[in-house]
Amino acid sequence: MVRVRSLALLAAPIGVALVVWSCDPQRSAVAPMIGTPLAHFNVFQCTPLKITGGGRIDYPPGTADKNPPASHEYETFGAHVMDDNGDCSPEKGQLEWVDHRPEWNINGSPLNLHSITITFAEEATDTDCSDGAAHWGGTLEVKNTGEEAAFEVFDCDNGEPGVGHDGFAIRVPAIGYEVMCPDPELPPAEPACTLTGGNRQFHPTHR
């Protein structure tokens, strides 16, 4: 009888621990990191957030300097995401991305990516983006081919003005496409490429 009581006393905390563990949010389930880990954007939290804006990136190299206009080595985009509940499942979001580089001209047009669904959004807390950063993504359509693919973006608001400070990066592994700037010397923080036009705005009251 004593042994049964002892077993019950041992089993109870284990059972409670198992229940607590099972209730703990599995963030990786809603926010899968595609590919290898990055130097920054490794630590995330589910929290209410909103980030909006758009602009231009000159990648490669993705620094604050514009490439010569005739080179067509630039990308333009608009993107926003909003997670009001802070559960990493955004209520709203959209991405439009155009890569004007000749090598990404597909079927006679610049590469054009258009989001279909936004499935996750999480705040990145290990960056040096002064006003806030987010990692978010979902699925998109490659407008040139009709192909659908998963994507993720790394979104950085590093103060005003956006040009020369804020950053943005995108990765679409299924089509071998990425605009990432993994240079630790680059402001504001890797892997985001620095904006040469436009602005990103993180809204702190949604934090």
Partner: protein
């Protein structure tokens, strides 16, 4: 006498007070606003009116896009690979922003009088705790040739005459707002102003009148605190 003065004062206050209430009420009801629009090509003459592709930020929404693989307005302009993206957010607490982009690939105006290969117009406006500002950073013109002359990186509002046609404004930038509670900017990368001579009684040219406009790559953004 004193009673009359008192009554006049009361009447005056009765008239003035509601006005101050109305003014303060209107001020308190001002909300943050964000507007954005962009288009690739616009032709406006007495016989032609066309704007394409054209994106306008809907009220309460955060983004809109439009695009066209090619656009042709015979005699005026042909263009390829046109994309417009507008984004914005009006937030009473955190501040507002608006960003518009218009990009055009190969463009040919007035049967080769002006050509370019890579037009980018970007307008960005932001209002926050410490700043209300707009800029055209990111705008550029690639391989621009005007009347046989190569033009690289024109300064804002560069004007070049087009004999027999009118003139062209390159990298036209038109700011708006008071810089305190509002700020806005329109960027037109190529703006051809079509003109015809005005003739006097003896047939002499006494001036010119504008008869149309052609704009390639236009982005507009504005925000209100």
């Amino acid at each position: 006498m004193r009673i009359d003065t008192f009554r006049s004062t009361v009447r005056g206050l009765a008239l003035l007070l509601p006005m101050t209430w109305l003014a303060s009420s209107a001020q308190s009801q001002m909300h943050a606003a964000s507007t954005a629009q962009a288009y690739g090509i616009s032709v406006s003459t007495p016989t032609v009116s066309q704007k394409s592709p054209f994106a306008v930020l809907p009220v309460g929404e955060a983004m809109a896009t439009d695009q066209g693989q090619s656009v042709s307005v015979p005699g005026f302009v042909t263009a390829q690979d046109l994309f417009t993206i507008v984004t914005g957010d009006a937030d009473d607490v955190d501040g507002s922003n608006a960003v518009s982009t218009a990009t055009v690939g190969i463009v040919n105006l007035l049967n080769g009088l002006i050509t370019a290969d890579g037009v980018v117009a970007v307008a960005s406006s932001t209002v926050g705790d410490n700043a209300v500002a707009s800029n055209a950073e990111g705008s550029s013109l690639g391989n621009l040739v005007v009347g046989g002359v190569e033009v690289s990186d024109p300064a804002p509002n560069t004007r070049m005459d087009l004999p027999g046609v009118g003139y062209v404004l390159l990298n036209e930038q038109r700011p708006s707002g008071d810089g305190v509670t509002t700020s806005g900017l329109t960027v037109n990368m190529i703006h051809v102003v079509l003109q015809e001579p005005r003739l006097g009684l003896l047939g002499q040219v006494i001036g010119y009148q504008t008869v149309g406009n052609i704009i390639v790559g236009s982005a507009t953004s504005s925000v209100t605190r």
